[in-house]
């Protein structure tokens, strides 16, 4: 194969890059709105999975930021409204003190502060031990629990909640996160 000069090669590479740029730009422009709609639907599904009340307004559009109890963080609060009345809220809360670092959960509260359910969004807990925080067996004890009317700690710390066997730190992290969300919610109600 004969050797071509440098100008030819450079032009070829530049043209190839330009073609690539145009192609990617076109694909992005085509799929952008569809993808955003998909992501929004996914978030909505996540949020509504922790509550069991009906709603007729999109909680994503009504999202407000509230202060955590110590005032250091902003938490996302999604009010669930039907006929203009809030019947429950969902709070997104993170805790950096999981066994594998940061974990993030969504907690659903009825208006009186009773927990409806929680769901883990991200976590890095040990597979098979700490990762059981995502399982129903651990999660079901929080259903209809109210952090104010019980000792909201693991039994090891003198509380009423069962920790996951050999994953006390992960269990504590979830409980602390829920407590944080609850405190923020209580303060938010009082402030309102």
């Amino acid at each position: 194969m004969k050797e071509r000069n440098l100008g030819y090669k450079t032009t070829f590479i530049v043209l190839l890059s330009a073609f690539g740029f145009v192609l990617l730009f076109a694909i992005h422009a085509l799929i952008d709105s569809t993808l955003k709609a998909r992501l929004a639907a996914q978030r909505l599904e996540l949020i509504t999975s922790v509550i069991d009340t009906e709603f007729d307004e999109n909680p994503l559009e009504n999202m407000i930021l509230i202060n955590s109890a110590d005032g250091k963080e902003k938490l996302e609060l999604y009010p669930i409204r039907q006929n203009g009345v809030i019947n429950s809220v969902v709070i997104r809360v993170g805790n950096p003190r999981g066994y594998g670092g940061y974990l993030e959960i969504l907690v659903g509260f009825y208006t009186d502060g009773t927990i409806s359910r929680y769901k883990v969004i991200t976590h890095n807990e040990t597979i098979g031990l700490g990762s059981k925080i995502t399982e129903e067996k651990f999660a079901e004890q929080f259903q209809y629990a109210n952090p104010e009317r019980m000792a909201f700690k693991v039994t090891k710390d003198g509380g009423d909640l069962d920790a996951i066997t050999s994953a006390t730190i992960s269990s504590r992290a979830v409980i602390d996160a829920i407590q944080k969300a609850f405190d923020a919610y209580q303060r938010f109600i009082v402030g309102e």
């Binding site: 194969m1 050797e3 071509r4 030819y8 090669k9 070829f12 590479i13 190839l16 890059s17 690539g20 192609l23 990617l24 694909i27 992005h28 799929i31 569809t34 993808l35 998909r38 992501l39 996914q42 597979i127 098979g128």
Partner: protein, 193 residues
């Protein structure tokens, strides 16, 4: 003489190249389906980029082929990165950084026979053979990690209760265990010492 031997070691040892190249996609091979999907995506990107570069061999010089390959490869990975969330959003999100890492795998594969003047037919035959091998290896790794790690296969529970699960296979280190075991078995069958 020594130089030749070194070259041979690098050139002939397919298994080493394979080990190095599939490391970027090992991380997501926790289940059979994940491993298979990842292997298929990698094969697709690899095959299409090579095909495009060789189809353009009339206009691409031998010594600018590699640059063109890099560009086409990056382009293909970006296209997959853009289109995959439309096909399966959950799978795309579980991949995370591992999807762009396909580039690395392809580069390692490609570096192996870069700048060699071969006919397109030879190269494509070669690549098809390698792709089949890759898919089989990844499927095996995924199946072993899912079966022994979770006691499931393709999402169905099939291991009887009471048999302990080997949880370490579900971690990233587990992938290397399976890979090392595979290399051992292959070498053993080939009769190498």
């Amino acid at each position: 003489m020594t130089k030749h031997k070194c070259l041979d070691l690098v050139k002939e040892n397919y298994l080493n190249v394979y080990l190095l190249a599939i490391v970027p996609i090992l991380g997501v091979s926790t289940t059979l389906l994940n491993a298979l999907s990842m292997a298929l995506i990698l094969s697709f990107v690899w095959f299409v980029s090579t095909f495009i570069v060789f189809a353009l061999s009339k206009v691409i010089d031998l010594n600018s082929r590699r640059f063109s390959y890099f560009l086409v490869l990056a382009l293909m990975v970006s296209v997959v990165d853009l289109l995959l969330p439309l096909v399966n959003l959950e799978f795309y999100q579980s991949l995370g950084i591992y999807l762009p890492l396909i580039c690395c795998s392809c580069l390692i594969f490609e570096t192996f026979d870069a700048n060699l003047e071969k006919s397109a037919k030879v190269v494509l035959d070669d690549i098809l053979y390698k792709i089949v091998t890759l898919i089989v290896i990844m499927a095996f790794i995924g199946a072993v990690r899912e079966f022994f790690g979770l006691g499931e296969l393709l999402g169905y529970k099939i291991v009887a209760y009471g048999i302990p699960k080997v949880l370490v296979l579900q971690t990233s280190a587990g992938a290397f265990f399976v890979l090392a075991f595979l290399a051992f078995v292959i070498n053993w069958v080939r009769g190498e010492k």
